[in-house]
């Protein structure tokens, strides 16, 4: 079970669980791009909230 460098794989590798094989060039991870874009928006907003509301919005602060 060592990982070779050949690019073709027998579908048996997945115990018959897959329907079709998809190669590198025929695959665009659109779902991943969507998920990661959502993640980016969430952390960017949370960062602004944490820094400018939670942190700078409270006193006293060390100057």
């Amino acid at each position: 079970m060592s990982s070779g460098t050949e690019s073709d794989v027998s579908p048996d590798v997945w115990d018959g669980e897959i329907e079709r094989e998809i190669g590198h060039d025929e695959y665009d991870p659109v779902g991943t791009l969507g998920l990661i874009a959502i993640y980016f928006v969430i952390i960017a907003l949370l960062w602004v909230f944490m820094y400018f509301v939670e942190f700078l919005g409270r006193g006293p602060t060390v100057v």
Binding site: M1, S2, V9, G31
Partner: protein, 572 residues
């Protein structure tokens, strides 16, 4: 090819031994966690406040040192042996490092357990960070040193296997798993020099009475020299599992082998020169050094952000090969019935959340808000307590058949276990973050003070404490389920042999696409050392010239001080 246990019985024995040690530590450390979750929220207090700190020390050391590291050395032994297709060069060395790690654990463990009883004056109530001048019994420091030497020898063992493989296979790219083990171990060698120096030259002589005092800031800085990269020592094996096992479970292939190598190289280069970000609020370290540590830390986000993309893309590839369609509908085509898959996927999701609280922790002046509050505890229960621990537990469902030759007892029970962990940790870690923002300190037995109130922005402290306690109980249930499950599988109670051995499919974009320089470990180690020297020389020189190597009472202080200030003069 057969099962790992049939192909390499001697190595499988060591892997099983390491996992056994790891699980014992998990049980002990986890149960200590239950006591703490109930004690510090005030619901059930079966121990004294003073015993709480012994419990806390045992919790930290058992879980992050023993559980995590024993598991990962077992996993690495498998990764090296299986990916190179050859056994250990000298089985005696393999047994020796495992023996040393076990001996060290027992020494440190006995010292900690001494804190529970009055029969002996021995104790080590110094928590996982053992900041001097809090003092532990010498056995504790000696045990840590022996344990670390054991891990060093393990690295030597794996490098020897690789060197022989390279001689037999000139010109071939190092297999991905081996590459990941080697970069992780190189990072570990660099990181542990800090704690080794702290323990061997300062803490051990001091606890034995050979020197009168220590420079508290120096040993603390040396601890964090090790204390931050150690989290990558736990995390890098997890990344390996996410890169090489998770895509397969999802029904797909790793998206990009070269990118995985880049990520591990980035960890090797950037992990160590970041430790000062744990010391943002320390006196005696100038702001400029803190800013430098912050920049390094922020750039260390890069390998994790890249990993998020590659791993999710690999999972999506699997979902689409399984017939998944649509923008997000493919998520339902994933094998959620496999505990190994679901556990790792949930662990990854929690790590994404942990990424955010980590970014806050890394923000230099923002640290005034969260430093040493429960926020930090919430953060690392998402990282090491979920991303690492839940992935290790999940991968166990995939891994045990390979090394024991038995089928997993029940996938269904396994799924209940990983999901329970997820729910328990969401409740507990989220509440911890929120009480932390209210100012509740970490590492205390009883955070209820006269005349001090903690105002949380949302929800009352009482409600959040209830969430912490409930989450802790769910985690305990999950832990016991896991232990029972391991026991039932290990001793083959169901009497079912393992299914046919697993094959790991190669990456969609293979190693042949990686530029050759990526494999130049000497170069990357050299750059890592240069960065460490740049980041640490001046702060350490300043700390030593301020108070001497051994604090004010140190006899050697004057001579060394002169030497160091001369060096600092030359470097600066």
């Amino acid at each position: 090819m057969g099962l790992f246990v049939d192909e390499h019985p001697d190595e499988a024995f060591i892997v099983r031994a390491a996992l056994m040690s790891s699980f014992i530590a998990l049980l002990v450390g986890g149960l200590m966690g239950t006591i703490q979750a109930l004690h510090r929220t005030g619901f059930v207090q079966v121990i004294d406040n003073s015993t709480y700190y012994t419990v806390l020390t045992l919790h930290g050391v058992s879980l992050v040192i023993l559980f995590a590291i024993f598991f990962l050395v077992g996993f690495f032994q498998w990764a090296i042996t299986d990916s190179l297709g050859r056994g250990a060069v000298d089985p005696r060395l393999t047994k020796a490092w495992y023996g040393l790690m076990t001996l060290g654990s027992l020494m440190a463990g006995i010292a900690i357990l001494g804190g529970f009883t009055d029969i002996t004056s021995m104790s080590a109530d110094v928590l996982f960070t053992f900041y001097a001048p809090l003092e532990a019994h010498p056995l504790f420091y000696a045990g840590l040193a022996v344990f670390i030497v054991g891990t060093w020898l393990a690295g030597v063992d794996w490098f020897r296997s690789w060197w022989l493989w390279r001689k037999a296979n000139p010109g071939e790219r190092t297999p991905l798993r081996t590459f990941m083990v080697l970069t992780t171990m190189l990072m570990w060698y660099l990181a542990t020099t800090g704690v080794a120096i702290a323990v061997i030259f300062f803490l051990l002589p001091w606890s034995l009475g050979l020197v009168d005092s220590v420079n508290a800031l120096l040993t603390r800085t040396l601890f964090w020299f090790f204390g931050h990269p150690v989290v990558y020592f736990w995390l890098m094996p997890v990344y390996m599992m996410w890169y090489v096992i998770l895509p397969k479970l999802a029904g797909g292939r790793l998206f990009s082998d070269p990118l995985a190598r880049i990520v591990f190289v980035l960890f090797l280069v950037l992990s160590v020169p970041t430790g000062i970000h744990h010391q943002y609020l320390d006196p005696g370290i100038a702001e400029g050094f803190k800013f430098l540590a912050m920049s390094n830390t922020m750039f260390l986000l890069l390998p994790s952000l890249l990993t998020a993309f590659t791993v999710v893309a690999s999972i999506e590839h699997g979902a689409r090969q399984r017939g998944g369609t649509g923008y997000f509908r493919w998520l339902t085509a994933l094998p959620w019935n496999k505990p190994a898959f679901t556990g790792m996927a949930l662990a990854g999701l929690m790590f994404a959340a942990a990424g955010f609280s980590g970014m806050v922790n890394a923000g230099m002046n923002l640290n005034y808000l969260v430093h040493n509050t429960m926020w930090v505890v919430g953060h690392f229960h998402l990282t090491v307590g979920t991303a690492v621990a839940l992935t290790f537990m999940a991968v166990t469902y995939w891994f045990l058949p390979e090394i024991t030759g038995n089928s997993v007892f029940s996938e269904r029970l396994g799924l209940v276990q990983v999901v329970t962990w997820f729910v328990g940790m969401v409740l507990m870690a989220n509440a911890m973050h929120r009480v932390g923002l209210g100012g509740e300190p970490r590492r205390t037995a009883d955070p209820f003070y006269e005349g001090v109130t903690f105002d949380t922005a949302l929800g009352s402290i009482g409600e959040l404490h209830l969430q912490i306690a409930l989450g802790g109980l769910l985690l305990t249930v999950s832990l016991l389920l896991f232990m029972a499950h391991v026991f039932l599988t290990w001793f083959d109670v169901a009497s079912r042999p393992a299914p046919k051995p697993e094959t790991l499919p190669p990456a969609l974009s293979g190693p042949e696409h990686a530029p050759a320089v990526l494999g130049n470990l000497r170069l990357w180690t050299g750059i890592a050392i240069a960065l460490i020297v740049l980041t640490y020389t001046l702060p350490i020189a300043a700390i030593v010239s301020g108070n001497g190597l051994f604090g004010n009472a140190g006899v050697l202080a004057w001579g060394v001080e002169t030497l160091v200030s001369l060096t600092a003069g030359v470097v600066g």
